[in-house]
Symmetry: C2
Subunit: 251 residues, 2 copies
């Protein structure tokens, strides 16, 4: 792909891509004879990561070191991005609540003190700090353990993990065909097994998050197709089971 196409796809300007090339953050993997930049699928992948981290407030130099860190596999990036995004979500919710509070205070004729108003800004570590905390977290045992966990997978590990996943999926398909209701305890147990498998092998997946994934299984055709290829109706069955299981866990 040429710069213009990439820029349009990613929602950035051509100048931005030039800039990323110049500073070595994202150099296209090829050039035409005339010197035109040519971006590969892998380049797009990297650009995606860059834009995510950039939106999360990281300076570009920092982004480069993050992405070039050989000890960070894709799963590690996803985990970090997920955590940072959830932090941001919390912060935004707090700000919405604060504004609603002010609205209500106005309607009731109460006036808030400056301290109350600045609460959000005061004890808020600006986004730069997030990465600092992130770096510190990065050195913690739990983190590096979980990181080491996925990184240390050998080819055989992957085969085993794949097989585990296959196994649960097959048992779900069998249950569906045997007429087991997706909100039955048996189905929920299978869903729970799948959840724990994800948590063990990939990333921490609390019930609430698993419920979100369950919804996606029927909303996103890619995932629907994955299940439907095995057995028609399986996507919906798994989706319901996963959500029922999450509800059972109190999510």
């Amino acid at each position: 792909m040429n710069v213009g196409e990439v820029a349009a796809l990613a929602g950035v300007t051509v100048r931005t891509l030039h800039h990323y090339d110049r500073i070595g953050l994202l150099s296209p993997s090829g050039r035409t004879a005339a010197g035109y930049r040519r971006y590969s699928a892998a380049d797009l992948d990297r650009l995606h990561q860059v834009l995510l981290y950039r939106e999360l407030g990281f300076p570009l130099e920092e982004v480069a070191t993050l992405l070039d860190d050989p000890s960070a596999d894709p799963a590690a990036h996803l985990r970090r991005q997920h955590r940072l995004l959830r932090d941001r979500l919390e912060r935004t919710q707090a700000m919405v609540a604060a504004v609603e509070k002010e609205m209500e205070a106005m309607a009731m004729g109460i006036s808030l003190t400056p301290e109350e108003r600045f609460e959000l800004f005061g004890d808020w570590l600006p986004e730069e700090y997030e990465q600092e905390a992130e770096e510190r977290w990065g050195d913690t045992e739990a983190w590096s353990q979980s990181q080491a966990r996925t990184r240390a997978y050998t080819k055989e590990d992957w085969v085993r993990i794949k097989a585990e996943g296959e196994d649960v999926e097959a048992r779900m398909a069998a249950a569906l065909q045997a007429g087991v209701a997706p909100d039955s305890p048996q189905a929920m147990d299978l869903a729970e097994e799948a959840r724990q498998q994800i948590s063990r092998n990939f990333y921490d997946c609390p019930p609430e998050m698993h419920a979100g994934l369950g919804r996606m299984y029927v909303e996103d055709e890619r995932f629907t197709a994955h299940y439907e290829r095995r057995t028609p109706g399986l996507a919906g069955w798994v989706s319901t089971a996963v959500q029922a299981n999450a509800a059972r866990q109190g999510a």
Copy 2:
């Protein structure tokens, strides 16, 4: 207050305040004989607005015109901030969902297409655009009408509005003392009346938002005190009634 104190309170640097002074965005209302900047409560108020709009991605110059616009009263700013924050909330939720989708895709061995990955960035109007849309919205009839609505209040209007609020509160207190259950239809009707009053006189307050306010009545001592001063137990009663009413409306 001196610059240092203000900076500490607001979570910004002294240099930032100097900068805002230089560009005329926020000039302290006074100086000491020695030239020290002295910030009043009104200055703090303005700083608060500045920081909010800044965090929402507005360039400082834009912030200045927004805040100096004589046709925008405090309520108008709150409404705008509320809308922008809710947009941001939605966007962040979408990003969280996207990352979770990628995590799951990885676990399932599916790989997403670049188009899917860039969806978020593609059709997303970067925050600058928000203000543009905002400005366009700003010229729409509905908006200027509602803006004119609050701005046009005379002193008598305020007295009337205050009286309206007093009236509903008094009837709520009476209901409480008469032993009316806060989740009874009668209580919910009073809550609904209060909600419509807010929507009429101040800002659009859908049931869902009203429910959030209801929670605040018991969580925030300022609002709790407002109700408890009138009648002990009223804060909790109103809170329950408001939330029950919101639930009744399907929120």
